[in-house]
Chain length 129, copies 4
DNA sequence: GTGGTCTAGACCACC
DNA sequence: GTGGTCTAGACCACA
């Protein structure tokens, strides 16, 4: 359960954390009960204000993905939709795919080259991990 | 030259306009001289603040994609790099593809289903047009 | 749409705001589209930090009760469950009733005196308004 | 003398314990000398940190409701104001009633349905015991 | 004008 | 040790 934060990203830090945790939970990489790094740990590790991390955790709790264990920290919620089906996870990916399709259409690009470009990106992604 | 605006989208309205016009010009769908709908027309059609549309047009003018013709409104600039190569246009698509690849990785999705989902989205996109 | 804030209350200010707005929306006192006082107005009126108010509004937005109109402020959401039925509103009251029933049971109190006490409280409440 | 603990409740565990014991003593359901379950028993039975239970007992001792008997644990204090008058016990219930009245007002609910709902809750409460 | 984000630091409550 | 709340103040993005 390690987080990657990009301080210069257009989208805010707290949302980066929310997104990453949500996807990892959805992918089943964090079964219910998994303990998250404490607010202070994350804040120190990434040189970020604790409140920023706290805000992300609060939002994840509101979404029902995390649970607070008083005095102990946050854990992945018991009712968290762990390891959702491929179909469900594709649905989580839908907005990003939609954006690609729309932009590709406006750019007058055909299916072939776009798919090929995506394939390459995904292979790079796997190599990096 | 019709615009699609999503008021509830996470990215701001003015940027939606800039992005769409830029992509359509790059695709050669609007040859130099093509007249754009007036600020007032766009504002009225989409119930948007005219200043927002104006800001988008101003930004496109600054990028050299549009020209202001006195009394006539904005037109696609003569020096606009119309119909850029596929390679160039794919590069414009890169950030969106990057985002898909990253999220797919975090969701633990394989290449196959993702590519298939994108293919379907793109075919829908074409049908709608 | 005026808010009442009790700084010395055990439950936090931002939650007081959330609760009040939610109940007023549920009661149909604020039809969809009603504009809320701006963050800065509320903050100034109650000598509270703007972030505290902002936090409340953000939470109400996450619950789907409010919508952000960019540059204009927050309004009651179109899909907000306006003027819910008495049955629904009683359900919103359930936790508080539950608490009374539990405590009354532990105090060994009969139904009669408790109901009478509640009746008096509610009449006081109405007089104050 | 059995306790009911709600780990997910908004109010803290130690306060739940304090409240319940105080109300049961006030109701005369536990005459002076009644032995309370040991810290370890309560902690084990409810999967709660022993320190939390201990803190609750300490607070009740400070209030004069419990006494520590060496080697035997906590018992209800001799000077505990057992079986207080109905009037006194209603006063202990006042904050909860206040909360119901306030929320009902904001929800635009009339006295009738609220009283009826409370009546039902209290009858359920009695049946469960 | 609107809300959003982040920081630094203080204090509290709970376990 | 944990997270929560609030403040004061700065800066940004949007309309």
């Amino acid at each position: 359960m390690s987080l990657h934060i990009e301080p210069s990203s257009p989208d805010p830090i707290y949302r980066q954390i929310v997104g990453q945790v949500a996807r990892m939970v959805a992918a089943g990489q964090c079964p219910p009960g998994t303990r998250l790094p404490s607010v202070r740990e994350v804040a120190a590790a990434h040189a970020v204000n604790p409140m920023t991390v706290s805000k992300a955790y609060a939002q994840l709790e509101a979404q029902g993905l995390l649970e607070r264990q008083r005095g102990k920290g946050m854990v992945v919620a018991a009712q968290a939709p762990a390891s959702r089906s491929i179909r469900d996870r594709l649905q989580a990916l839908a907005p990003a795919l939609e954006e690609v399709a729309r932009q590709a259409g406006q750019l007058g690009l055909e299916e072939g080259p776009v798919i090929e470009a995506l394939r390459q990106r995904m292979q790079n992604e796997n190599r990096e991990q």
